[in-house]
Amino acid sequence: MTPPLTRRDFLKGTTVVLFGASLGAGQDVPAAKKTRVVLVRHRDVLDDNSAVNPDILQGMLDEAVTRLLDESDPVKAFGKLVKPGETVGIKSNVWSYLPTPRELESAIQKRLVDAGVAADRIGIDDHTVASNPLFVNATSLINTRPLRTHYLAGMSGCIKNYIMFAPSQEALHPDSCADLGSVFKLPIVKDKTRLNILCALTPQFHGRGPHHFSRRYVWSYKGLIVGQDPVAVDTIGLRLIMAKRREVLGPDGEVDRKALGRRVFGKRGELDALERIVHPRMVERVREELVAEPGPAVLNAALLFRMGLDRLCGAVLCVRAPWWARLARAHQRDGLPLWQGLARIASQRGICPKLHGAGVDTYYIDNDRGVDALRERTLRLLREKRLEL
């Protein structure tokens, strides 16, 4: 019996050995057969509102399938997958927050008809596939769904998409849905899947709340991942999600501030969107703190004026530094290359007003000679202006 995998196995780095042992124990394992997975992306498949361009998506599907099957013509390629006279079920996904796009279903349907399958013998379904007569009688299946994370399984891909064929979905949920692969042995499914299309137009890389969804964690990747082996297709999808998580989230699932900075600084639209979300909350939090702890308080905020926090202050000390010093510090402290440092400086333009604010006394301190000089200048100003800390 294989011992359970524990957290300590990951710490020891023996996970691969354990998995290998569990797969190989007492069996003659045949050499793995190579399989092909095609990833196609197109920058114009989504517009600014994430609406799908159906013609471009059709082209992406055609390119993926022709490359997958070494054909020059998409209709011939689909002709290798299905034959006229067949009954074909398209197992889609209707999850309300991130369903399979209708444009993708239509693109698949069109090529099946082009390949000679009668339109009335093509079905598209999700929740009722197990009892849908067309799927029960299907001779071929096309498996398609969006790529996303999943609360229990970790990821939802082409393997997870077939859970609706199972007599009991609950029975497949224990141990992080480890037994999902068994669905592919059910008679309604076995040996019928001709193509797996993992929709990565707007994948979801993290989830939260009861529905495990927030549009914050969806990004425009504009891709399709296509193959005949669902394990291989999902593996590519999983790598994509993991790469995105590494880029945006830290090791504990918290926001990686450096990665967030790389993403928004120098990109006005992204920065505006971020500030619209976090600034009102930050101002509210500061108000609460001031009420909870009455008395003199210091707010250390680079974007004090932009956030409107100056309205809560009795006086403002504006600390300035020449651009070259800020560039050097950004490099030293955050490891930013020259171009990213310049982009950050550009995005911070106007955070320290050149004219005194109408509602608050504003004083300027130059910070061009290091921490000791800054401290001395600050204390001197506080004494001169009789400001209380």
Partner: protein, 275 residues
Amino acid sequence: MEDLGKLIPRTIGDWRASGNDQLYDPKTIYDYMDGGAEVYLAFDFRRLLARKYVGPEEREISLDIFDMGSPEEAYGILSCDREDPPAGIGQDSTYGFGLLRFRQGRYFVSVMAADEDERAGRAALEIGRVAAKALGPPGPAPDMVGLLPGEGLRPDRTSYFHANVSLNNRHFLASENILGLDRTTDCAFAEYDAGSGKPAYLLLIRYPGAEPAAAARRSFLSTYAPEADPEGLAPTENKTWVLAALRDRYLIIVLESPSRDRALELAASVAIPAK
């Protein structure tokens, strides 16, 4: 739950309820939640009232009210997935990025604006405030939480649950249920500031009797820390310590402790009630 729906206005500010309220029970919750249902079924989930509000630009806010059977169970489901700052609505509320969560009495409430922006966020908070008023008086936290040592405890990272699925979602321990957790076990899982920047963890489990608690300790040590000394202490690969200590029907497990002494100190500080 139907009556509860009548107590919550169908129009709140610019936002109107869309369609009829939907009700789900432990058998039908799968129809509504993809992937998360097990997490609720691992508690004493009874019924769910789901309502959608539609506002300006056809934006949508989901109001989900879960009847968890008791205030302790409502605390449990809330405590297993909280990461945002307090919102001051109902009990133990958290709000971040368009998602408000709180408990009130035996109810756990989630209000979510999928397309978050400032306006939708404000509306989600207002819907939550209105709903909280309809849910009756507040309720207590589980007694297990009160047994945890207070010093260094991070209350916002403390959770209460029963089942292995909840433990592994919170802190993966093993691919199998090596602690024998089920609906008969009560667990409190807490994070403690360890001074090293990384937290130490304390898992306190109450079993129905002393024998299953002892069996669980044996199972844990043989699987997770076979090299442990007679006290149940062992160093781990990331230069921290693990401890499994038994006190009557309580099993105390300390994970990722920065030192042997800190592990023993944490375990000794658990306020196990006298028989």
